[in-house]
Symmetry: none
């Protein structure tokens, strides 16, 4: 069973410490992107989705709090851990009320950091009441429950979906009525883009079409050379 590694954005200006920390986290099966300052950190953040941000507070140009604020403007959900100097009191930190999930005084025990990360990730995982919306879709007369991997037609018997079927349909639903680029699915779901994965994806499209047949208003259209489009007719706009 393969599980996707969690992605961490690490923003730390001290190159030595940053590199060591990055390596340590990667050894513990996290995907880590290391930015050397606040600017770069924000650029990287915009370019990708992260499960967690670890921000050094003391940085030139753009400090951790300012960066956090910008990040929050784009995404209210990512957990943030601040690395602070020993001296700082907690109440000082609270003043910035930017919604930190944790603070860690430098220097810190790397194991402690790991634990905090785990705890936060787990909390987020169980929190999912909030983002359950991302897992349930109405597609014409169908209901897709992407967490439990089933598709229901008119509230009847649910059809089980395989992981790939499920993820693909979910991606299409996320882009309902819009182009879902081939490449997006391939990189997100298959994590590889070549002739064979592409053919495999086509096979899955065929399967999904079969599942969706009961509702004639629901179609998966191909946009030649570009990707696919899940449309629900009558859902005009």
């Amino acid at each position: 069973m393969e599980e996707q590694n969690k992605k961490i954005l690490l923003v730390e200006d001290d190159p030595n410490f940053g590199t060591v920390l990055k390596d340590y986290l990667m050894m513990n099966d996290y995907d880590v992107v290391h930015a050397k300052n606040g600017m770069e950190g924000f650029e990287k953040f915009k370019k990708d989705d992260y499960d967690l941000c670890i921000l050094d507070v003391m940085m030139p140009y753009k400090d951790g709090f300012t960066l956090a604020k910008e990040i929050r403007e784009k995404n209210t959900d990512v957990p943030i851990i601040f690395l602070t100097a020993k001296a700082m009191k907690e109440d000082v930190l609270k003043g910035y009320k930017v919604g930190a999930d944790d603070y860690l005084n430098k220097p810190f025990d790397s194991e402690v950091l790991l634990m905090k990360i785990k705890a936060i990730m787990q909390r987020k995982a169980t929190d999912s009441v909030a983002d359950s919306k991302q897992f349930e879709f109405k597609i014409g007369r169908f209901d897709l429950n992407s967490k439990l991997r089933f598709l229901k037609f008119d509230g009847g018997e649910p059809t089980k979906l395989s992981p790939k079927e499920n993820e693909l349909l979910r991606l299409l639903a996320l882009h309902e009525n819009d182009l879902m680029p081939r490449e997006l699915a391939l990189t997100k779901i298959w994590r590889d883009d070549n002739y064979f994965t592409s053919r495999s994806m086509d096979v899955y499209i065929a399967k999904l079409r079969k599942y969706l047949k009961p509702d004639p208003k629901v179609e998966i259209l191909n946009i030649h050379g570009e990707g696919f489009r899940l449309v629900v007719n009558g859902n005009d706009k």
Copy 2:
């Protein structure tokens, strides 16, 4: 608002080190009971409820692992932290698979210990939102009494459940209609996640299905690669 201090059982044979550690923990607002060896540790454990156990591994008469095993028989939930010699490798420790929540190499940084304690307490606190003191469940036409380990059909003769059967069914019931991840049961009940424990779990699923057969509306569904789902049909929504 008054909050009760957390209670810690400390089992450590070195009187000096033990006393120092005890004082340190008490200074940090924990109630600490200090036992000087494994025997005494177990006696004290039986006499009271603890939020956490800190066990030295290397002790005369009864080592920490043996003690932990006894503790686990009485209580599957208390978090346990082991104090180990530097030399011990983690995989050696895992062999004992007694469900440690953490290991700490002696000598260790007392602040690190504090943080680990905090982390564990917090984890327990959030865990228990879900599975707190719930021991009675209605599952279709069944009643599960998880404290007394029996399952009743239509209020008739109760079927006795073995500890593992019971815990597994309870976990499923806690997640009724929702995914109960395989991994969750394995780490919570078997305290180890490998091929064999996983197969063992499957055996238990089969047993539970047999028990639940009398009510056709109750099913344990598999979600391939993810886990199981206890559903009660007609309990729609």
